[in-house]
Amino acid sequence: MAKSRTSLRSGLETADLPRPPKSLGGLSREALLDFLKEMLLSRRFEEAAEEAYAIGKIGGFCHLYIGQEAVGVGAIRAIRPDDYVITAYREHAQAINKGISPRAVMAELFGRSTGCSGGKGGSMHLFDASVNFMGGYAIVGGHVPLAAGFGWAIKYRGEDRVCLCFLGDAAVNQGSFHETLNMAAVWKLPVVYVVENNEYGMGTAYARVSTLPIFERACSYDIPSTAVDGQDVVAVHTAVREYAERARRGEGPSLIEARTYRYKGHSMSDPVHGVYRSKEEVEDRMSHADPIVLLRSRMEAVGLIDQATMDALDNEVRAVVADAVKFADASPVADPSQLYTHVYHSLDVHGRLFLDRMNRSAAKVSEGVGRGVGGGEARGGVGANRKDS
């Protein structure tokens, strides 16, 4: 039975989900304070990135996570350190949530050699394989099969790990999403897909280009799914924990639609409101559905936090962020010799790998390195630079 546009629209609003839930998920005060602190860190980090972008320290595209912090924190806190996380391009905070230092993330945004991707990735391509953060990707939906590939490898090796894959609402209209969900279901791959529905794919409201709520898409592939209030960190955490455990038991993939909201524009070059959403809408969400305010107020209501503790947390994360900015700003830019490294891992002894004249001499140098150490020099990548916090 087709739903009308009106009912779909209302079905997508976070306001329709119960809030606040009656419990705090059975979580300890320590766990909740950790959530709160991590969300604060995420927010303050992005505010600092916004400032750095405004003065030209960060270039290119820069997509801020402000407003969506509960999804990253709630989901990543629900899995183990040895589980994989893979995501799209609004991933600064998620990278930090998974364990990359704010210093290495900020340095990457600044395009410095100390960045978590050696300055080669930038805002949209943060990586740290040592903490199983397997990257940010900038083709909408393109990373969805990679997550299934990690799941495939986990199953192939008989491990009990899982892969957590974040994607945006717009990605569910890509073919790669549907192809992958089908195969993940057929092969029972241990992947939890968390769709961050912030209601807009750039400037296009999900409901304008779709006929069903996101979580119902999973029904086509017999994948269990649910919609949760993505502004409620406890709700996200509970849902991801349940589905991750299910995946760990070998029962296959699942999908969570986390209904959230982005406070800023799609990227730094995009207005916050105006063309595709109203100022009133943005202000309403910010004042009624802020994930940090929600958790704090619920903790206050049951006496788990006071103003002094809140201030202390905020001061602590502000100091971490200030340190990250200072570190990034003081870090060296990438060495010009890095232009041609990490294109290939096996540098063949024979033949020319790079066809431009500029690299004619660089290729010879690289081949020399490849011969000397059996082509293995790059295996650790920039990891050695990353132990900086």
């Binding site: 099969p145 495939w152 790669s176």
Partner: protein
């Protein structure tokens, strides 16, 4: 020396590497129960089991991406495309993910994966099933590309590709699967980036790759009847590219024809011609000519298809032109 078909050589390469390394597995359409669309994986399902010989739905972008993901965390997938015409659906995965992730991650995540299957035209399969796709892959840094034209090269290059830590595209020829040739017993590996002179000659060089090696050899045989000694250089590997071998044959004959199955604009031959004019200009006694597919989608009609494909006669004509005969 023993003879194998091109199909058997590929099959032997995969089987040996799967025996040697448990992280190698084969995934693609019809590779298991059906024994492979072109029977390259005949018997593999029984031999290696469904975990390592994986039938997929028709979802090229999806299973290419799943293979890439598996490679990112240390497995060594062989992704078979029934033909590279269908791999066009997976170009985002191959070019945006496989080719770039090692670089974007600052060298943290190598992607040891092989994408293999037939490229180019067969017989009267019409436009969507008859195209040589070499350019699409050689164009992108981060990818390696090999084009075996003989059974021995098929085995040796595929084994080298599987052992390589980078994404390697292995472009086979649909019409080559039944071609027989000598293949050495035992461990036979052809390193990437090493061209081979398939026929020695001194008057003109026909440089080519892949299936066109056979057309070049036919042309060279015809030229020999006119007392023209044509050298046939098979690049075998398009990236890395054996530039030294190209320059050597140019210096030897001073006259070059590039033969390829693809279209001319920005084709492989265009780059080869550029290298020659840039690095061996003084060696040339004539402009370099190219023989390519006609610059049209492949027609179905048999006579039109024959006109569209590069032929030995067109190669002979081109050789005569660079010899000013």
């Amino acid at each position: 020396m023993r003879e194998l078909t091109y199909r058997e050589a590929l099959s032997e390469a995969m089987a040996e590497e799967m025996e040697r390394d448990e992280s190698v597995f084969l995934m693609g359409e019809e590779v298991g129960v059906y024994n492979g669309a072109y029977k390259v994986s005949r018997g593999f399902l029984d031999r290696f089991g469904p975990q390592r010989v994986v039938d997929t739905p028709i979802s090229e972008a999806g299973f290419a991406g799943i293979g890439i993901g598996a490679a990112m965390v240390g497995l060594r997938p062989i992704i078979e495309f029934m033909t590279f015409n269908f791999a066009i659906l997976a170009l985002d995965q191959i070019l945006n993910t496989a080719a770039k992730t090692y670089y974007m991650s600052g060298g943290q995540i190598p992607i040891p994966i092989v994408f293999r299957g037939p490229t180019g035209a067969a017989l009267q399969l019409a436009a969507q099933h008859s195209q040589a796709v070499e350019t699409q892959y050689t164009h992108s840094p981060g990818i390696k590309v090999v084009t075996p034209g003989t059974p021995a090269d098929a085995k040796g290059l595929l084994k080298a590709a599987i052992r390589d830590d980078d994404p390697v595209v292995v472009l086979e020829g649909e019409l080559l699967y039944n071609v027989k040739g000598e293949v050495p017993e035992g461990e036979h590996i052809v390193p990437l980036g090493v061209a081979e002179v398939k026929r020695e000659g001194s008057d003109v060089s026909i440089i080519t790759h892949g299936k066109m090696v056979h057309v070049a050899l036919q042309a060279a045989a015809r030229l020999a009847k006119d007392q023209i000694s044509a050298e046939v250089l098979d690049l075998r590997s398009l990236r890395p590219l054996d530039v030294d071998a190209i320059l050597t044959t140019v210096a030897k004959t001073n006259r070059v024809v590039y033969l390829e199955e693809g279209w001319p604009l920005a084709g492989v031959g265009a780059e080869i011609v550029n290298i020659i004019q840039e690095e061996a200009f003084d060696e040339l006694d004539a402009p370099v000519l190219r023989v390519t597919q006609a610059d049209v989608p492949m027609p179905y009609a048999k006579n039109l298809e024959q006109l569209a494909k590069p032929s030995a006669q067109r190669v002979v004509d081109a050789c005569n032109r660079v010899l000013y005969r």
